[in-house]
């Protein structure tokens, strides 16, 4: 039982990082990306490849993963600069689908549909982290770090600029803000930090494959941010915890058929999304009225 809770807690940390980074661009920059799972995947594959071919040290594999994701995120930044709203959602959807196809086909790097097995455990100062308790400590450490970084950024002038752009791009532009640079930077930061979660995930499972990085995952992440509350500091964490606990909660309800737990979970958060949008767009943590856009 204890091991099960450890497993859940570690996954909550990893998803927490993803939700926070998605909220960074969705809630603050107004960039609604459905492609976040791709950067999660890029981080995971890069870390796995690096660990298998060079070194499993956390101080090398994670920055390598972040670098790859940061560079790749420029592809997402491009449409973010050109269009917004519905068009951007469509572009990010396209990127998500394209990314999955690339993950499935680039067999030499990603192992194709079979995935990568036998990823070595991560090394911290030469010590291989295999004990689940130690790994949880590592994961929560990373979560804390990500929270620190994003909060600092958001409270700084960079954060204020982001909010200005979100609320009115043309006004921000007329004030002399370099909208393009700020938007690009926010996408790059968000993706690089999401890659940290990816690296953790790869080391934790010892195996990754494309199934974890598909549209379903991007949807789940979006649900976490929305249900928790976009544009708030606590929202994504609340959302992550809630949505990760949902399947376990449902599996304890003996009257629900076990084989349908996955569907029931999705129905639950789909319904939550609809109801929240009608009655409380700000999410659980957000203000009742939600942010005007």
């Amino acid at each position: 039982m204890f091991a099960y809770i450890l497993n859940l807690a570690t996954l909550i940390c990893i998803n927490g990082v993803l939700a926070i980074t998605l909220n960074f661009i969705m809630g603050y920059a107004g960039i609604f990306s459905l492609a976040h799972a791709i950067f999660f995947g890029v981080g995971a594959y890069s870390a796995a490849y690096f660990a298998l071919h060079s070194s499993a040290s956390i101080f090398l594999a994670v920055p390598a993963a972040m670098l790859v994701a940061a560079v790749l995120s420029l592809v997402l930044a491009l449409p973010a600069l050109r269009v917004r709203g519905e068009y951007f959602v469509a572009a990010s959807l396209g990127l998500q689908v394209l990314g999955v196809t690339v993950f499935s086909e680039w067999k030499s790097i990603t192992g194709g549909l079979g995935g990568i097995i036998g990823i070595p455990p991560v090394e911290l100062f030469g010590h291989a982290v295999t004990d689940p308790v130690q790994f949880l400590l590592l994961a929560s450490g990373c979560l804390a770090l990500v929270i620190l970084i994003t909060n600092t950024l958001l409270r700084s002038s960079f954060g204020r600029n982001l909010k200005a752009i979100r609320d009115s791009e043309s006004a921000a532009h007329s004030f002399g803000k370099n909208v393009a640079a700020i938007k690009t930077l926010s996408v790059v930061i968000s993706s690089a930090l999401a890659a940290v979660a990816g690296a953790l995930y790869a080391f934790y499972l010892g195996f990754i494959n494309v199934e974890s990085f598909m549209l379903d995952t991007s949807t789940l992440l979006m649900a976490m941010v929305i249900i928790g509350g976009t544009g708030t500091l606590l929202g994504p964490i609340v959302g992550a915890v809630l949505l990760m606990l949902l399947p376990s909660l449902f599996s304890y309800m003996w009257f629900l058929p076990q084989t349908e737990i996955g569907s029931i979970q999705q129905i639950a958060y789909g319904t939550a999304m609809v109801l929240l949008m009608v009655f409380r767009p700000g999410g659980i943590v957000g203000s009742g009225k939600g942010d005007r856009r």
Binding site: F88, V89, L95, A223, I267, T271, V274, V278
Partner: protein, 290 residues
Amino acid sequence: MLLLQLLINGLQVGALYALIAVGFSLVFGSTRVFHFAHGSAFTIAAYVFYYVFSVAQVHWTIAILGATAAAVLFGVMLDRFVYAPIQVHEGSFFTLFVASFGTAIVVQNLIGVIFGRSFVSVTTPLSRSIEISPGLFVSPLSGIAIVVAVLFFGGLQFFLMRTHVGMGLRALSENPELVRAYGLSPRRLSTMVFALGSLLVVPAAILSAASSGLSPAIGHHVMLISLAATIVGGVGSLRGAACAGLLLGMAENLALVYFEPQWSEAVTFIVLFLFILFRPSGFFGRAIAH
């Protein structure tokens, strides 16, 4: 010969895509709602038809009526009970999109729970191809698809150009205030749009059920095509959406001449992505203020 065969396949697939895309474009162009649940209307129509015709073994005319009723009811109820309340409060693009998205998730999973997640298809002799010329195979279903698409599109054009309600719909996308000034209610028109948009997916849904089979996740694919076709064709242009839908269907099939099959879905997205980057207004759309 392969080229010709793929061209014909592409035409059939493209005809269905065009129907789906026009439905979405109509809704999006008139109401500006990012109706992500459009794919759900398709899924509902298809499964209702499958259930009534294949499972309950009722005559196909009744099955068609059932599917139509279900899809239209879904679209109208969604507008009435989800979109309308949101639009009263603040109606930002994001909130409407998320509500629509949430609905799509619920529908997909409900159908998965009720009907199972594996493929089902409607068996009919119409799906069997006939060799109309050496090496060229066409099924009666393909012919029906093309004819139905043309008929529906023609009917839609007539409706929009010649009837009062139709003209009101066109006015809605340009200027809702003016519509009110003329004594028409934007709310009622909006409901009409959703009904019409959902109606347009029904033939495509039924034909897909008979030719390539269904699974609950089919709504995703439908949605992606609608989005891609609407943007490539140009928001606000139904003709553009139809042409783009047709083009995408043909591109998907013709790509098979040179590329491996797993890239054919990617082709659609590469095209979409490029358009968004370089020409967001699409072929026929109005320019996008940016």
